[in-house]
């Protein structure tokens, strides 16, 4: 979008207040014409007054320029940004619904918060954000004002958070989303990564003939004596990008575990979860090979479990990384198949060797005949494609019987074994061998 040069703020290169009004107007018209949503983020840098007082106005300007540069580098192709006050920016993003706006607000906080140096002193900037989603009766000023009010609410609650305008009346939502808990979890993840707070637990996957086809490695996190559940720490790790480091740690640990099992004469695969963020990196295959070398393990003993969120973007890079893994002899399993973004069309693009049916199909068995038919059809499809079909989350004998009748190849669930640490897993294998 092009605007007049005299509408640009000289410190940041962003649009100034007037430019912002024009920009908001243009984007709102476009959103209404195309029927797309439009999100507005009003950003207010916390404690800017103190920075101005401590470093002078020149220092304050430098600080704002550094923050603006971060926004520019990370967002320039996705968002329109303007400076609406000494320490305030407006950022507008088309085609963004409420859920993705919240993700975007977290991302904005992430972009701004890394330490920066001002006259040799390290500062960790934080930001308060108000979010407004365009509503049918909004005019330009009304839209901006709603975002501004939400920002003021975020500020009043202590800053370093975001608040959604107008979301309070929605059923089942608090409306105001505090990010404090997420920041605490993130902090704990950093502690875990530097203090040995991570561990892998393993859950066996059993073939219908009773053999252990694989064990799935599941990450556990414990910090200062407190267990943090994966349902809490995985989403935070994904939002903050820490999932890459957790994933790399788990790749090497899982590979070492596979080697230990092989040394102990237990010939089964170890399945390791890899995230979308790992696979979109063109250098993922270097990390994979490095883990194989460090662990000194045969690739045939490993399997990568791909979360269904990967299907949001099966880029050439992802496909190439997966092809490299297959070429090495590593198995590829698609996790939680049948939910979220996963669909049959993906099967033609990915060289997967295993499909893991989501527990949603299993927990309603044996009574739900429609679910049974879906599982049966998937098992048939799997056979045609030469893939192993695993049913996750089996808890009762009746479910196992239904799954056997449907023709799945393997079952994973509490009915056979809960996830356990490596020592318990070895004992579990030993007990089975003794039977």
């Amino acid at each position: 979008m092009k605007y007049l040069l005299n509408q640009l703020d000289p410190t940041t290169g962003f649009l100034d207040r007037n430019g912002c009004l024009n920009m908001a107007n243009d984007l709102m018209t476009r959103a209404r014409t195309t029927g797309q949503s439009l999100a507005m983020f009003w950003l207010d840098i916390d404690r800017f007054k103190q920075i101005n007082e401590s470093f002078g106005y020149l220092g304050g300007d430098n600080f704002i320029a550094l923050v603006a540069n971060r926004l520019k580098c990370k967002l320039s192709n996705r968002a329109e940004i303007g400076r609406v006050g000494a320490d305030e920016f407006v950022c507008m993003v088309p085609n963004l619904d409420l859920v993705r706006s919240e993700q975007m607000a977290t991302e904005l906080m992430r972009i701004i918060e890394p330490e920066l140096e001002l006259s040799g002193i390290r500062i960790r900037p934080t930001v308060s954000i108000g979010i407004a989603i365009l509503e049918p009766d909004d005019d330009t000023f009304g839209f901006l004002e709603r975002a501004d009010r939400a920002k003021t609410a975020a500020k009043k609650q202590g800053g370093n958070r975001y608040v959604i305008s107008g979301s309070e009346p929605l059923p089942g939502r608090l409306g105001i989303m505090l990010v404090r808990e997420e920041l605490e979890i993130e902090n704990k993840l950093h502690t875990a990564l530097e203090n040995g707070g991570l561990q892998l637990h393993y859950q066996p996957i059993i073939a219908l003939d009773g053999k252990v086809q694989a064990v799935e490695a599941l990450m556990r996190c414990r910090v200062n004596g407190e267990n943090i559940t994966p349902t809490k720490f995985i989403p935070v790790a994904e939002k903050t990008g820490l999932i890459v480091r957790l994933g790399e740690w788990s790749l090497l640990q899982g590979a070492r575990h596979a080697r230990c099992m092989s040394d102990a004469g237990i010939i089964t695969k170890t399945a390791i979860n890899v995230s979308r963020l790992q696979l979109v990196d063109p250098k993922f295959s270097q990390v994979l090979n490095a883990a194989l070398i460090c662990a000194d393990v045969s690739p045939k003993l490993l399997e990568l479990e791909l979360t269904e969120s990967l299907f949001m973007d099966i880029s050439d890079t992802v496909q190439s990384n997966l092809r490299v893994a297959r070429k090495l002899g590593i198995g590829l399993a698609i996790d939680d198949f049948g939910t979220g973004y996963s669909c049959l069309a993906n099967l033609k693009d990915l060289p997967a060797t295993k499909l893991k049916l989501d527990r949603a199909f299993v927990c309603v068995l044996p009574h739900d005949r429609r679910a049974f038919s879906v599982v049966k059809a998937m098992a048939q499809l799997g056979k045609e494609l030469g893939m192993i079909i695993v049913a996750e989350g089996a808890e009762t004998t009746e479910q196992v019987e239904a799954l056997t009748e449907a023709g799945v190849d393997c079952i994973q669930g509490y009915i056979y074994a809960k996830p356990m640490d490596d020592i318990s897993l070895f004992s579990w294998f030993k007990e089975r061998a003794a039977l």
Partner: protein, 279 residues
Amino acid sequence: MTTTEVSKFTEYLGNTLRDISIPPCPVILERINSEMRKDEPCFNQLALVIGSDVGLSAGLISLANSPYFGIRCRVRSVNEALNILGLRITSRAIAGLILRNLFPDTPMLVRFWDASASIARLSGWLSKNLDGIATRAEDAYTFGLFRDCGIAVLMQRLPDYPDTLKKANGETHLSFTAIEEARYPTNHAVVGCLLAQSWWLPEEICIAIRHHHEYPPISQQNSATLNMIAIAQLAEHLFQKQTKLSETCEWGKASAFCMERLGLDNESLIGIYGKIPGL
């Protein structure tokens, strides 16, 4: 990599399971770290743990007595070494000593570890003596120790790695890791980073290991990471200048980045040459 090289590598991975495997964080290090995490760590308990391993005790005492720490009186016991070095540096030094002990004492590896240890100590010294560089000496020291640990792993795993190393050391234009990647599907910086992560080293150190042959690192990094890379590269240059050992072409590729990062000009560099402590 050519197709033949890829299949050779794949075949190697599929067929060979060798004796040496790099362990997860060693038990003794876990015990030291867990004692350190306590609000009031017990030095006597730590000294007992370290003292149970003669090699570690000797290594720690000799480190405390090295000129880099500027200790006037001679350290004679693990307890004294602990008091003088502090807990953080003790833990890192022990990690380095254990790492070295994992590998066999082939002449090439002995030279390699000796060089790493000297570069680590010089890095610690530089971080204390360069003006305006806010990098902790123990971080610079640890990074120096672990920076090239991927090389030791690859030397164990890949029979032709010494030849690759020679070629990479003599390369004046391409990056060191580019030479490795032409032959293998990974490089020592990535291997070293994974190993450092699994030993729970701080994030800045792991990232610095991953990017230490990029001048400057391609992705945006924080100043602690950039400083560590620059300090260790300068330390390697000083080490090679002083010993005339294992000359590489890295300084030619890295000097512009390092000197800018560390705020040095030719005159101040010459000044540093004259102050290097004995190795």
